[in-house]
């Protein structure tokens, strides 16, 4: 589980169905006797916590390495850490790393499955899966996604979430558009073959059913790639008026309130943000079960 770029519609459905089984408590102890290693070379809150919960609730042994308090802090290389975990008998390695391609590199040095929990500006596949789960749930099923329109808004250039949700939503049959100033788009944004819009207002006119807001790294972007937070919020932030037609709002978190999403909308009725967080555990349980082969045992 390194990327969603090659996932087909059938595979997505399989994962989401299994996640639903976990959510409904139909699957227990799927990972009994399995060892899951969480190797986080970069800070994370919700991803790390939900992977840990997913593994423990299914009965796995969990080894947690974070940047602080491990050999990573002493400068051990990614490859050496992965080899160590492999030899310790890991059945799955969940990896978060600040460089794109780290998960793919790690997978070449272990026979255990590597689950990409975010690699630099590369991919964040389990985020996309939990987004698909939360949105399917809100719309009444995975098949309800087909034909709906989703606008992905914000810093697409630096977003691993964008690189996973674009193929994820597209494979689910959704129509996807990108909304960002050109300073926050890859130079060949046209390569995705998606429409590029220049404000949330335009996304609303385009008929977006869902507004997916990406986090803005305010401190790094202001001045250089965007003039000001005020102008960004005005053109690339979602406000109450954008939701009057029934559109839903999503955000991978953590939210800059008043920047990507106005404060009165974050936890409002149109917001799926709490549902996205809630979907994290069952989706990651399903991913771990599939990756370790435990899912076949469950099915049998």
């Amino acid at each position: 589980m390194l990327t969603l770029e090659d996932a087909g519609r059938g595979e997505l459905r399989e994962i989401l169905d299994l996640a639903a089984a976990f959510a409904e408590g139909r699957v227990r102890d799927a990972l009994a006797d399995k060892t899951v290693c969480l190797a986080f070379f970069e800070a994370s809150t919700r991803t790390a916590v939900s992977f840990e919960l997913a593994a423990r609730r299914s009965g796995a042994y969990v080894i947690s390495l974070s940047e602080e308090g491990s050999a990573i802090a002493k400068g051990e290389s990614l490859v050496d850490t992965v080899v160590t975990l492999d030899r310790l008998g890991a059945d799955a390695i969940v990896l978060r790393h600040p460089a794109a391609g780290a998960a793919a590199l790690a997978s070449r040095h272990t026979s255990a499955p590597v689950i990409n929990a975010g690699d630099g500006c590369g991919q964040h596949p389990t985020q996309a899966l939990l987004d698909l789960y939360a949105l399917s749930d809100a719309l009444g099923g995975f098949d309800e996604l087909a034909g709906r329109r989703i606008a992905i808004v914000g810093d697409i250039l630096h977003s691993r979430v964008a690189r996973s949700i674009i193929p994820g939503f597209a494979r689910s049959g959704m129509e996807v558009s990108l909304v960002a100033p050109r300073t926050l788009l890859p130079p060949d944004a046209g390569a995705w073959g998606l429409p590029v819009l220049s404000s949330v207002d335009e996304a609303t006119e385009w008929g977006a059913d869902v507004l997916y807001m990406l986090r803005l790294q305010k401190e790094r972007m202001t001045g250089a790639r965007i003039p000001s937070v005020a102008e960004y919020a005005r053109f690339y932030g979602v406000a109450r008026r954008h939701l009057e037609g029934g559109a839903l709002v999503m955000h991978p978190g953590p939210v800059n309130r008043g920047v990507e999403i106005s404060g009165d909308v974050v936890l409002g009725a149109s917001s799926l943000i709490p549902d996205q967080v809630a979907a994290g555990v069952c989706v990651r349980s399903a991913v771990l079960a599939l990756a370790t082969g435990a899912a076949q045992r469950v099915a049998a």
């Binding site: 100033p181 300073t183 003039p227 102008e231």
Partner: protein, 436 residues
């Protein structure tokens, strides 16, 4: 101050030599202006208000995309009333005002204030260029989308340029998203350390020179980035043969246009032997090889149009040793006459190309005027091509008098300027009559 089109009474300009490269019109015609637009071009047109234009040429109004009206901050040098009156006296019906004022036009509130003053005080269609970066300091991008909402027409780094290619690239990308054209002043300040062109004249005079490469390297950078970003970029005051050649290379590779000035087309760095502060300008006057290269590029359309870089300065800033003087020339009032006298009468540029470079091409760039086609806004310029006149302080309408053509006799004088069907500059005298 521009009249409400609905309130402008119908006017017929009779028997003018109507000359418009955009439509190919070239002959004695009558032109009817109603509701602020050109409504009919023909022969034998009559009406209750008529302007007898016999022996005059009628052109589409000139458009100058590069003007410094010194407002806000230095209204002693020029204000919107005097700047627009000077523009009208030069036959300009539209201008773009540059943002390097005090304060710099880098915030929406400055733009909206300026827009309000333009509405009240300008005789011609004045468009506002906001700054590309905050304080024109070359670091942080301005709030271009809010500036546009406040009334900005484009963004520019004029006066200073942009030192960092990274900032310039992001500025172009962001301007493209904001839907704003970018006017660029190409100058590398690590090379431009002198006060005149770094050539033989500077050596003989003992003045510190700035090499042509200061402009050429910055122009090359801007063009490469324009091609990569797809932004609508206009390179202003091109003054060297090499920069013109670079523009030529990038035509078709980038969404790029360029202008040069009347002074770079007609004057050379020979003038610095006078050591007179009046002749300091930026980019500096160049040797005749560059002047000729720029002239050829204008003739061939590589340089799309002429812009004046009208830059008024108080006498205390110009009556100084050249090294201490402020750079800049007046431009509006002498532009057409200087180019007509030096280039057209000399057989080096056709009248058609000159009018194309002052009306049609810049009109197309701003998206209004520049044509006498029926339905176009009634922005026109009446010129007496036979009148000789002496450029002296008393003849200039600008608050300032730093014209490099002072003391020269030029041929061709603007007699009347019409914006939206109303006369905003009028030397027609008794020619204007109302029929009973």
């Amino acid at each position: 101050m521009i009249q409400d089109p609905g309130a402008t009474p119908e006017l017929i300009i009779r028997r003018a030599h109507v000359f418009d490269p955009s439509t190919g019109l070239d002959g004695i015609r009558d032109v009817r202006l109603s509701s602020g637009r050109i409504s009919e071009v023909g022969e034998g047109l009559r009406g209750t208000r008529e302007l007898d234009a016999e022996s005059l040429h009628l052109f589409p109004g000139f458009v100058d995309v590069h003007a410094h009206w010194r407002t806000p901050g230095r209204e002693d040098e020029e204000d919107i009333e005097s700047g627009s009156a000077a523009a009208a006296a030069g036959g300009f019906t539209g201008v773009v005002m540059m943002p390097n004022t005090d304060p710099i036009v880098d915030r929406p509130v400055v733009v909206s204030g300026l827009a309000r003053r333009v509405e009240l005080e300008s005789r011609v269609r004045a468009r506002i260029s906001a700054a590309l970066h905050v304080g024109l300091a070359g670091e942080r991008l301005t709030e271009m989308r809010l500036l546009k909402e406040a009334g900005a027409f484009c963004v520019s780094d004029d006066g200073l340029g942009t030192a960092s290619a990274g900032v310039l690239r992001n500025g172009m990308l962001y301007a493209r998203s904001a839907g704003l054209p970018v006017i660029l002043h190409c100058e590398d300040h690590t090379l431009a350390t002198g006060v005149v062109h770094d050539g033989a004249a500077a050596s003989l005079a003992g003045l510190p020179g700035s090499p042509a490469s200061a402009e050429d390297t910055a122009t090359a950078t801007a063009l490469v980035l324009a091609a990569e970003t797809g932004a609508k970029v206009h390179i202003t005051h091109v003054s060297t043969a090499l920069s013109a050649a670079l523009v030529s290379f990038f035509k078709g590779r980038a969404y790029v246009t360029a202008d040069t000035t009347p002074h770079h087309l007609t004057l050379t760095d020979d003038l610095i032997s006078t050591l007179d502060g009046l002749y300091r300008v930026n980019p500096p006057l160049r040797p005749d090889g560059d002047r000729g290269g720029v002239e050829e590029a204008l003739r061939e359309g590589i340089l799309d149009f002429v812009a004046t870089d009208h830059a008024p300065h108080a006498s205390e800033e110009k009556e100084l040793p050249l090294e201490e003087a402020a750079p800049g020339f007046l431009g509006h009032e002498t532009a057409f006459a200087a180019l007509y006298t030096e280039l057209v009468l000399d057989g080096r540029l056709s009248l058609e190309r000159l009018v194309g470079a002052m009306s049609s091409a810049p009109g197309r760039w701003v998206g209004e005027g520049g044509s006498l086609a029926v339905g176009t806004v009634a922005d026109l310029t009446l010129v007496d091509l036979s009148e000789d006149w002496m450029v002296d302080r008393s003849a200039l309408i600008s608050h300032s008098s730093n014209s490099p053509f002072l003391g020269r006799t030029l041929t061709g004088r603007v007699v009347g300027t019409i914006v939206g069907g109303g006369l905003v500059h009028d030397r027609t005298g008794a020619r204007f009559g109302v029929r009973a």
